[in-house]
Symmetry: C2
Subunit: 427 residues, 2 copies
């Protein structure tokens, strides 16, 4: 007998509820697990992943075949695809996270009170983290490892296209957990591709402490609308590079080309270039040549089109489009203030850079642009946890609460206050 | 012509939306305001409040009269009531917050990267804070001052019973803002007593960065269910004091009486006393005498009733009731582990204390009890921002994200990353 949709949804809800209960219980054990056992679990997971290399390649080939049948784009299929090098990189990633300092128990601050009480602020795990992501299989390993290192249990809900690959990766992590005597439910993968599972996770207030959505705009928007659980918002990266009139032209050319074209599809890629009117005639023809050579399409405002040919006139929509592609919008501005205003109006509070030799202008930009990451004389593509020295990241948070910028191990923790007294009572 | 309910709700939504827009715009100015101007505004607000003392007493008398007509409880009326001393305390509170170190711009961490980039984590304001609270008029002054000090704009929605008083307080703060050349919309009071205003605030995702609900269980629960905006959860304080078998009996008596009876109505008051079986016969008769003399009703489990007379048998409901009153539930436990398990099952992750001379037992308790505040040999009534040295607080957060424990100025801030380079591009 076929199930009705509401019966199916009820089944999914029951399943997600069970995962939640198991995660909560595992989180209680993990919170008190030693640094050594967490490190051991991650190193053993890396070995288990290497041992499963052939099995993982077979599972991944089945994922790819199914994706081709569904006519997924070449870019999606590339993101999905594993090869021996990518599997080795994933194992090394697990070992890198294993080797990070353990954050739990760190005394973040300590101060005495006049009555003799000693107050300590001590780092603790967040509890249960839900990660909802799309097709890249390595997120399964990275997210699980970061959560585990921070003493959290995690429920992973990857893209349905990568489910077979993710299952093999999760299996390797479970092996690591069990061999290190940690609870197997510390890392759980949602194994149904039913989309109702995402909705059920977003409602799991009793068990999940925070949801990390890592994926495209539509996923993130769904999460923001439906979630009853706190979310580390990961909105789009509408990043700007701004060339101030005091910029060194060679430096600016190198930085802008890198900021756009190193990898145009990452969230830290520059989408809009702002150029001071005074320097535009000197730099734009050179930059246009560099970018054209690198295969970048240019869309400029009217003034840009006058200075450079081969520029498509930009429309209003271009200032708020995250291309994630080899396309750059260019706008000429009068000065620093107009640049700051433009970023405030169209930006996504992710990552923005100024290129300037005038230090005062640079400091004003760094202070006044309200983004998670602001840079002076460097590429916006540095918006990345590993580049910050965090070892790895789950994503770049654009929200303002708790985590902002790269979400690494430390951002997946919270704290408690320990007060030690000798019989103090309050007046 | 009378308005229909939906017309009224639409009006309220339009009004709240306007407050939100104004707050967002003020927040942009405040984020860049100097430490000096914020301090000046708060000191001038304190003066303006003192000047309005007579006007405030008149407004408060009208609030009290209306509350009596509505047959509010004596306790509610007491919370509502102002007198010259309470007004002076409020003014001093504004000055205390004015004198705290300015948190904005503080370099929280700084590190170089191998490529020469210097990364700084710098403290910034949260943006726009919404505070929803009940009848105590001083919250209007405290919450406004804490938010302002942290560079945030705030929208205040107090209890309708205290609206007349709150309006005079808000007027004084606005005077301080204007005299210090800060935006008048930095602090705004919702002046309708229509409950739809709360619902509208909870939906104001475009303008409000975080909601702080400060009040009783029903308010907080409504906020948790309806909010589309992030919330600093302030759930109940189901706090425990646990007397370990190694406790010093005199110390334990002093601490427990204070933890329960100093002010039984605060969220940090102990609601349940756990006592090790080995020490129960020695301490419980003495403690029962102390507590009875202090006017406290005792409700105990079966074993407690055997040891002490004048104890009402406790029911299962007593372990999860926040009395906020002169009532204490008492349970005898076998050992530390049973105490920790009881707190995990019935506690609210707020504040819990162990009384013990055995340091190892105390450390185990401090580590394993998953509460915002854990204490050794001190009263749970220290759960208070001022007692932590935070100057003042909006409340005690029981959530795990961003703010946990007392919410003072620092907890009302966030951060950004400033990266300074010399032309770095990413490989």
């Amino acid at each position: 007998m076929r199930q009705t949709l509401s019966e199916k949804n009820a089944d999914v809800t029951v399943m997600i509820d069970r995962l939640g209960r198991q995660a909560k219980s595992a989180a209680g054990v993990l919170a008190l697990a030693s640094a050594k056992s967490k490190e051991k679990a991650l190193r053993l997971a890396a070995s288990a992943l290497r041992c499963r290399s052939a099995k993982l390649l077979t599972a991944n080939a089945a994922d790819i075949a199914a994706a081709k049948e569904k006519n997924l784009s070449a870019a999606s299929i590339d993101r999905l695809k594993l090869d021996p090098d990518r599997i080795e990189a994933m194992a090394v990633g697990l070992e890198t996270i294993a080797g990070l300092p353990d954050p739990i128990g760190e005394i973040m601050a300590s101060w005495p009170r006049p009555n003799g009480l000693i107050i300590q602020r001590v780092r603790t795990p967040l509890g249960v983290v839900g990660v909802i992501y799309e097709s890249r299989p390595n997120v399964t390993a990275d997210a699980a490892a970061l959560c585990l290192k921070a003493g959290n249990a995690v429920i992973l809900r990857g893209g349905s296209e990568s489910l077979r690959s993710a299952q093999v990766i999760a299996e390797a992590i479970t092996e690591g957990l069990l061999k290190a005597d940690l609870p197997e439910y510390a890392v759980q993968l949602v194994t149904t591709s039913d989309r109702a599972a995402v909705g059920a996770l977003l409602q799991l207030q009793n068990y999940i402490d925070v949801i990390v959505p890592r994926g495209g705009k539509s996923l993130v928007e769904r999460v923001m609308v439906e979630a009853r659980v706190p979310v580390f918002a990961h909105l789009e990266g509408l990043c700007h590079s701004y060339v101030h009139q005091s910029a060194d032209i060679d430096k600016a050319r190198r930085i802008v080309v890198n900021a756009k074209m190193r990898r145009p599809g990452v969230c830290g890629a520059t989408e809009t270039l702002l150029v001071d009117r005074k320097i535009a005639p000197a730099i734009l023809p050179l930059l246009a040549k560099d970018l054209n050579q690198a295969g970048c399409e240019l869309r400029g405002d009217a003034e840009t089109c006058v200075i450079v040919s081969q520029v498509i006139p930009a429309t209003e929509a271009d200032w708020s489009t995250e291309y994630l592609d080899a396309i750059l919008a260019i706008k000429i501005v009068t000065d620093l203030n107009e640049a700051i205003d433009h970023i405030a109006r169209y930006g996504s509070h992710h990552t923005d850079a100024i290129i300037a030799e005038d230090k005062q202008a640079a400091e004003k930009f760094l202070t006044e642009v309200d983004s998670a990451i602001v840079l002076h004389n460097a590429s916006t593509q540095f918006a990345d946890g590993a580049e910050f020295g965090f070892g790895a990241e789950i994503g770049i948070a654009t929200g303002r609460l708790h985590a902002r910028g790269p979400v690494g191990v430390e951002q997946l923790t919270t704290f408690k206050y320990k007060l030690r007294g000798t019989g103090q009572i309050r007046d």
